[in-house]
Symmetry: C2
Subunit: 528 residues, 2 copies
C-alpha cells in the first residue's frame, strides 16, 4: 500500500470505524466494476481452468452470483468498454468503423476519434445522486484531450488511455502516457516499467493501491462511489510483479491472473473491514474473450468455447462474470440469465435510483431483479427473454435467443492473414463455420443450440422442425432490431500520426513533451 492508504488504514482500524450502519447508505449503494483485459471465460478456477489460479474469485463466486451466460458487446476492447460505460451497442455509440465490411476497430494511438460528447457515460449519470467516480487502469475510449475520462464524468483517474504496447522510440511513436487525473505523470517503459523480457511490472500493484485508496477515502467521507477498476495485466504484453512471476503453472499469463485474483481479494477484504460490503455491489468481468491468437505464453483460455478475441464465436464474446454483494445477493447462486456488459449501466442507475436517459436507445437490461430476487428454480422459464447481438463493425454477425444462436455471417480472419500465421481459432476448425472468407448465411443461418453444444461444433440441420421453429422466433427479433437501429456516427474511421500521445497535458512540467509530426490523416486499415 502507498503511504496515504497505509495512514488512513491505520487511522480507521485504530478508531474502530468499521460498522456497516455508519458508512452505508441504502439508497445509493457503492458500485465497483472490475473489468479485466482479454481474460477468457475459462481463466477462472470456478469456470474450469485446470491450473486454478483464482482462489479469491472462486470464493467471490461462492459468496455471490455466477453468470455463465454473460456477454460483452464486442469482441474487442475499445468498443466493449464504450458499451459498458454507455449501456449501448458500439454501432449506436460510434465505437465502430465503416472502412471495411464487418471489421473490428479500436483506439490505437493514431486514432482520431473517441467517445462522443453526445454520449452520457455512467459516471456522469451517477453524479445526479452525488456519486464520486474513479477509473483505475485502461481507458481506451480515445486519448485526445476531449475524449479523456475526466471530460466524461469521472472525478478521478489513474491509468493510461491506450494499450501498454511498446517500448517506442519517441520519434516514430511516443510511449503511452500514464495519467493521474487530468495530467500525465509519466510514460510506460519510462517512468512506468514493463520488462518485455521478464514480464515484470508493478502496474497491477499500483492499480490495486489506487483502488484501495479511493475506496478508503470514499468510505471515510461517507460518500457513495463508483470505482471502475480496469487492470490490464492479462493483455499482451502480459506482465506481473516480481513476487508473482513464476508462481503459476501457466507461465506469465497465469502469474498475471494470480496477481489480479489476489488484488480482487484485497479489495473485497477492504470492503468487509470497512463494514461497507453490504452496501457495495461488486461486479467482475472481462472486456472480450482470451486473445488465443497470441499463443500460450501471452493469452488465456476460453474454456470449452470456439475461437477467441476478434471473433463473434462464443470464445470471443462470452465472459466470466460474478456479482458480489453480501446480504443482498444470495450466496453460491448461479443465474443463467442472458446478460451483457451493457446491463451494468442500467443496473447501476437502477440501484442508485436514477432514471436512465430517455432520449436514446439503451441496449441493457436492468439486472436488479435477477441479482436481488433470483428465482429458486433456475430453469429457463424464469429468465427474461432477451436477445444477444454479436457485431463486427456495423454488421450483425449473429444473434442469441434463449439457448439458440444463429450466425448470419461467419468469419474468423482472412486467408491472407491466416497464411501469415495469425490464427484466431488455434487448434479448432468447424467446417463452414470458422471460415476464412466472410460468408453470408442470411438466407439460411447456421444455428447452434448452445446448451447441448456450447462449443458451436454441430450446426443444426435446416431440415428439422426445431430449426424452423427457432428461425421463426429469431426472424422478427432481427427484423425489429435492424428496422429500428439508428447507427451512431462511426468514430473509428480516421487515423493520423499527428494525434498520437506526443504532448499530453502535464508533459511540460515533466519535460516529456514530444514533437508531433505534420497532420496527414488517412482512413485506418482494419484487417479483421
Amino acid at each position: 500500500m502507498n503511504a496515504l492508504v497505509r495512514t488512513l488504514a491505520r487511522l480507521t482500524f485504530l478508531t474502530g470505524i468499521c460498522c456497516a450502519g455508519k458508512l452505508s447508505n441504502e439508497s445509493t449503494p457503492n458500485i465497483i466494476i472490475m473489468l479485466m483485459d482479454d481474460m477468457g471465460w475459462g481463466d477462472l478456477g470456478v469456470l474450469g481452468q485446470p491450473s486454478r489460479e483464482t482462489p479469491n474469485l472462486d470464493l467471490m463466486a461462492a459468496q455471490g452470483m455466477l453468470f455463465p451466460n454473460f456477454y460483452t458487446a464486442n469482441p474487442l476492447c475499445s468498443p466493449s468498454r464504450a458499451s459498458l460505460l454507455t449501456g449501448r451497442l458500439p454501432v449506436r455509440n460510434g465505437f465502430y468503423t465503416t472502412n471495411g465490411h464487418a471489421r473490428n476497430a479500436y483506439t490505437p494511438q493514431e486514432i482520431v476519434g473517441g467517445i462522443s460528447k453526445e454520449e452520457l457515460l455512467l459516471p456522469k449519470m451517477l453524479k445526479k445522486k452525488g456519486y464520486t467516480s474513479k477509473i483505475v487502469g485502461k481507458w481506451h475510449l480515445g486519448h485526445r484531450s476531449q475524449h479523456l475520462p475526466l471530460e466524461h464524468g469521472f472525478d478521478e483517474w489513474f491509468g493510461a488511455p491506450n494499450c501498454h504496447f511498446g517500448p517506442y522510440d519517441g520519434i516514430r511513436r511516443p510511449n503511452v502516457p500514464v495519467y493521474n487525473n487530468s495530467k500525465m505523470v509519466g510514460r510506460y517503459y519510462e517512468e512506468f516499467h514493463i520488462d518485455r523480457k521478464t514480464g515484470e511490472s508493478n502496474l497491477t500493484q499500483i492499480y490495486l493501491e489506487e483502488g484501495l485508496g479511493f475506496v478508503l477515502r470514499q468510505a471515510l467521507a461517507r460518500q457513495p462511489f463508483f470505482l471502475y477498476w480496469a487492470a490490464d495485466a492479462t493483455h499482451s504484453p502480459v506482465y506481473a510483479s516480481r513476487r508473482f512471476l513464476g508462481r503459476s503453472q501457466r507461465g506469465r499469463y497465469g502469474d498475471a491472473v494470480m496477481e489480479l485474483d489476489s488484488s480482487v481479494g484485497q479489495i473485497l477484504s477492504l470492503l468487509r473491514k470497512l463494514g461497507i460490503e453490504q452496501n457495495t455491489l461488486v461486479f467482475f468481468t472481462s472486456d472480450n474473450g482470451a486473445a488465443v491468437m497470441s499463443g500460450p505464453n501471452e493469452s488465456g483460455s476460453n474454456g470449452p468455447f470456439l475461437c477467441g478475441k476478434q471473433t463473434t464465436f462464443e470464445g470471443g464474446m462470452r465472459e466470466p462474470a460474478i456479482a458480489w454483494w453480501p446480504g443482498k445477493i444470495p450466496e453460491g447462486a448461479v443465474s443463467f440469465q442472458l446478460a451483457s456488459v451493457m446491463d451494468l449501466y442500467i443496473t447501476s442507475l437502477a440501484l442508485a435510483g436514477i432514471s436512465p436517459p430517455n432520449d436514446r436507445t439503451l441496449d441493457g437490461l436492468d439486472l436488479t431483479p435477477v441479482l436481488l430476487h433470483p428465482p429458486h428454480e433456475t430453469h429457463n422459464t424464469s429468465l427474461t427473454d432477451r436477445p444477444i447481438f454479436y457485431y463486427r463493425g456495423d454488421e450483425l454477425m449473429a444473434v442469441r435467443l434463449g439457448p439458440y444462436k444463429a450466425h448470419y455471417w461467419t468469419w474468423s480472419n482472412s486467408w491472407e492473414e491466416f497464411k501469415t500465421g495469425i490464427d484466431f481459432c488455434p487448434g479448432q476448425e468447424v467446417l463452414g463455420v470458422t471460415t476464412h472468407a466472410q460468408k453470408e448465411h442470411t438466407m439460411e443461418p447456421i444455428i447452434f443450440h448452445l446448451g447441448r453444444d456450447p462449443g458451436e461444433k454441430y450446426p443444426m440441420s435446416a431440415l428439422t422442425q426445431e430449426y424452423q421453429d427457432v428461425l421463426s422466433r429469431m426472424a422478427p427479433v432481427v427484423q425489429q432490431h435492424k428496422k429500428t437501429l439508428v447507427p451512431g456516427s462511426p468514430q473509428l474511421n480516421m487515423c493520423d500520426l499527428a494525434v498520437m500521445n506526443w504532448a499530453p497535458a502535464g508533459c511540460e512540467k515533466l519535460g516529456k513533451c514530444l514533437k508531433a509530426p505534420e497532420s496527414k490523416p488517412w482512413k485506418c486499415d482494419w484487417p479483421h
Copy 2:
C-alpha cells in the same frame, strides 16, 4: 428407496443410531469409489460446465479435495476398470489386444477373455481386514462365469457385465443380463427398460437404492465396507429417469448428469445421517474421457482438452476427480498431484492397513499423504514426481512427467473411419498431432507443456533448450518403463458369438435361457 432401505432407514433414525463413535472404526475406514461412464472432465460445474448441472458434486469438491490432474489408465472403459481394480496398467493385467498395432479393445458380448484369475482385485485384498464389498452397476471385466465379480472378491453385485447397448432380438444377439449377485434377474430392454426414443430408464434410481441399501446394512452391522458404485447413465445410449428428463439445458446427456449428481448427493447425505462420514473415504471419478464422437445429445464435455474417449490426448484420459472425507481431507483443497485411477488400489489398501501384493508390479501411488497431509503450498515442488503412461493396446503412445507430455505416437482414428463420419476430435484439429494415420515420433517426440497449453495446441520447438531438457528427463523414465515391463497375456484378442450372454446363471428359473450358436472363434477386429 426400496422397502428394505425404507424400513432400515426408519429403524435407524427412530432409534437414533447416528453417532460417529458407535459406527466408525478408525483402522478400517469404509471406501466408496464412484466411477462414472464416459463422463468428461468438463462435465462438472466446478470444472467449467456452462450448464452447471452438478450442485452436489460441486459441494463435494468444496468439502473435499479436487484433483485437476487425475488420469485414467486407458481411454476405454474395460481396460480402465480393470486397472482401477488391479492397480495395474492394462498391458500388465491383460486388458489389451495385440490383434493390431495400438488398438483399443474392450469386452463386448462376443469377447472370449476377461479378468484373469491371476489378478488380485481390490475387494479380494480388502477381505484380509474383513471388508464386505459390493459392486453396483457396470462390471465390464468379462461376462463369462469365471470372470464375474463374485469370482473376484466382491460379496455382492447388482448390475450388468456389459454395456447397455440394444435392444437385441435374442436370436442374433441376446440382450445383456442384469445380475443380482450370482444370478441374473432379467435383461436390459426386457425386465430393465431403457426407452431408446425418449431416453427414459430408472436404472440410476435402482443403482442408487442398491448403493444406499448396502451402505445402510453395513453401517448397522458395523462392518467395514467397499462400495464400487459404477453407474452408467452417461454412456451411450444415455438415459435418465422420467423426473430428470428435460431438466437440464444440455438435453438427455445433461439430464443423466443431473440424476447422477443427485444420487451422489443422496449417498453422501446418508453417510452423514448414519454418522459414518468421518470414517468413509468417497472418491468420485470417471472411466475415460467424454465420447465426443457420439455428438452433442449423447456425449459430454472434455472442457479445454483435446479430443476424447479412444484417444491418448488429454480429452481421452484426464478425468474429473474428487476425494471426500470430512474431518480427514481438508475442505476446499486442490491437489495438483499427477494421480491415476490405479492409485485408488494401493491407497485403499494403505487406508485399510493391508500390504499390497509383493509378487507383481503395481502402477499406483499411495495417495494417503496427499489426501491426509496436503502441503499448504500447492506448488509443484511439493508433489511426488511420477510419470503418467498413455497406452493404446501395448503401444506406449505418450508420457506425462511434471507439466510436460511427450507423444511418441499420435493417432486419432484412421482416414477410412474418419471419412465415414466417425470423428474422435470434432471441431478440433492440430496439425501433425491429431493425425489420421498412426505417426511415430520416437526420434523426436511432440512435447507439450500442459500448464501453459492444456489443450495440446502448441507443440514445443525441438530447437529449444527447454525441449532438450525435458527430453533428457523423459528418456530414462521411458527406457526404464519399457525395459522392466512384462506384458500380461492379452485377454482381448479372441471373439466368439457362442460366448455371448445366451444363458447366464439364473436364466432357467426365469425362463430366459437362449440357445447359443456353435462356437466359431475369430480374432476380434479392433478398428481404432
